[in-house]
Structures are given as C-alpha cells and as structure tokens.
Symmetry: C2
Subunit: 125 residues, 2 copies
DNA sequence: GTAATACTTGGAGTTGGCTCCAAGTCAAGC
DNA sequence: GCTTGACTTGGAGCCAACTCCAAGTATTAC
C-alpha cells in the first residue's frame, strides 16, 4: 500500500504519516527497492493503533517510548505493560473528569431551556 | 482576592489567568482603585468554570465566543444554549471514543500479563 | 526614604503537533 | 525522450495555548 492509500484509509495526511514514522511513533515502514514506502498489513496496524491512541489524547512522547521499548524485544514486556497501565490510568481519570463536565453542561443547558421558556412567557403577556 | 491567591486556589498560573482575561475567556475581573485585580466570588466562579471547560478540552476560541455572547445580555440566550449543545455533543463523542480506547488498553494490558506469565514459566523450566 | 515584594502591561519566546515547501528521484504514458 | 504525477528528504513555518520577560508602579517593612 502506498502512503497516499494509507492516508486515505485512515484519514491521516501523508505528511503526518511520514512525521509519525520519523518521530518513531510507528516502527519503520516497509519500503520497495527504490525506497518508496509500501505499507504492509502490519504497518497499517501500527498506523491504526497510533491513530486511536492519539485521538484519545496519548502524547507523542509516550507513544514514541512505547515503540522504542517494542523495538528492543521481549525483555521490555514488563516496562511496556507498566507504561500502558500508567496511560490507562491517566485516560480513565480524564474520562471521569469529562463525564463530570458533561453533566455540568447538560445541567447548564437545562437551565438555559427554562430561562428561554420564561422569557417567551414574559413576551406573551 | 489577589491574582496569586486565585492562582493558588485553582492551580492556574497568574500568567494564564491574565491571558484568559485578555483573551476574553472570562469577563473583565474586578479591580482596586490602583488597577490591581481583586477577584470577587463571581470572578472566581468564572475562573472555575473555564478551568473545568478547558480541562475537558473545550477550545479557547469557543469559550471566548460564549463569553462574548454572555456579555451581550439576555437576547443571546438561545445562541448560548446552541453553543453549549454543540460542545456538549462534541464532548460526548470524545468521551465515547476514549472509552473505546480505554477498553482497548485494558485488553492490551491483559495480553501483556499473559505473555509475561508465559515468559516466566519458560524461564523456570 | 529605601529595599523588598507583589502587582501591572505589552510583547516575545516556547512547546506539541502537525503542515507546507523546495529540490530531487523514479515509473508510466504519449 | 520528455512530461506528468506520485513519491522521497530535510527543514522551515504555523497554530493553539500558554509561559516568560522587561520595564514600570504601588504597598509594606524596616
């Protein structure tokens, strides 16, 4: 798969895909003899994974660390797991906070609803 | 309340508090005769509100719009409500996505657990 | 009265995360 | 064989959201 096809498939610009690779966010992508990127299924899998993690707010720095550990092989299993746990807990906390804020917004919206109804009644008098 | 007290109270730097005010993220803060900020309860309420919304990922641009509408008084009630609804829906969608990612991380962590256990068994043999 | 401290402002600098650009290479179509 | 178009690279530029800085003023402590 070419970079533009992968770009299409995941809705990530080719520039960003190259940036992710250069920054070590995904392992080096497979190349054709002439040096042009030719994404394998595995490469695509990494792209999809990183897209998902980025959208959830995990930092590029952390994901880079994770990939660096991955590249070092089996002896980093525990470290990788620890990293994921840290990020999982952070994500959990963020979600919790956002849920509180969601409730608050819903409440605020309901208050606006009441106020708007009250205003309309006043105008009808 | 002085800016540094408010900074302490909410864990927001004085610079950021000034930036928020200048950018129109919070209505102009009460001042003493000499021009020094003297946050009222209401001012603090706004700070707390904006802190909450920023932490949930609402953009400065959107919050600025909201405050601008607020400053125009009652005739912007409907618009403000609409703005809040848009942001509420966005927030909901983000939370949903993050929950999916949370599940994925949890699954990944469990896979690591198994692999680590398997590795340890191998070593004991 | 003067030194220290906490504030004021406008504006420059920084960071994270892209996004764009110039210059070059290569394969395909005419 | 030459143009077109998709790719390559390194590096510059951009945007959101702060963060820092210099120069100045006001209050308090001695």
């Amino acid at each position: 798969m070419t970079i533009s096809e992968v770009s299409q498939k995941y809705g990530i610009s080719a520039d960003t895909l190259r940036y992710y690779e250069k920054a070590g966010l995904i392992p080096p992508v497979n190349r054709k003899e002439n040096g042009i990127r030719d994404y394998t299924e595995t490469d695509c899998g990494w792209v999809e994974f990183i897209k998902c993690m980025r959208e959830a707010g995990l930092s590029i720095e952390m994901l880079t660390q994770y990939i660096a550990l991955y590249a070092k092989g089996n002896r980093t299993l525990q470290k990788r797991k620890d990293l994921l746990i840290t990020e999982r807990d952070r994500l959990k906390a963020r979600i919790h906070k956002m849920q509180q804020t969601l409730k608050r917004l819903n409440y605020k919206i309901s208050v606006y609803e009441e106020r708007i109804v009250a205003c309309e009644k006043k105008l009808l008098k």
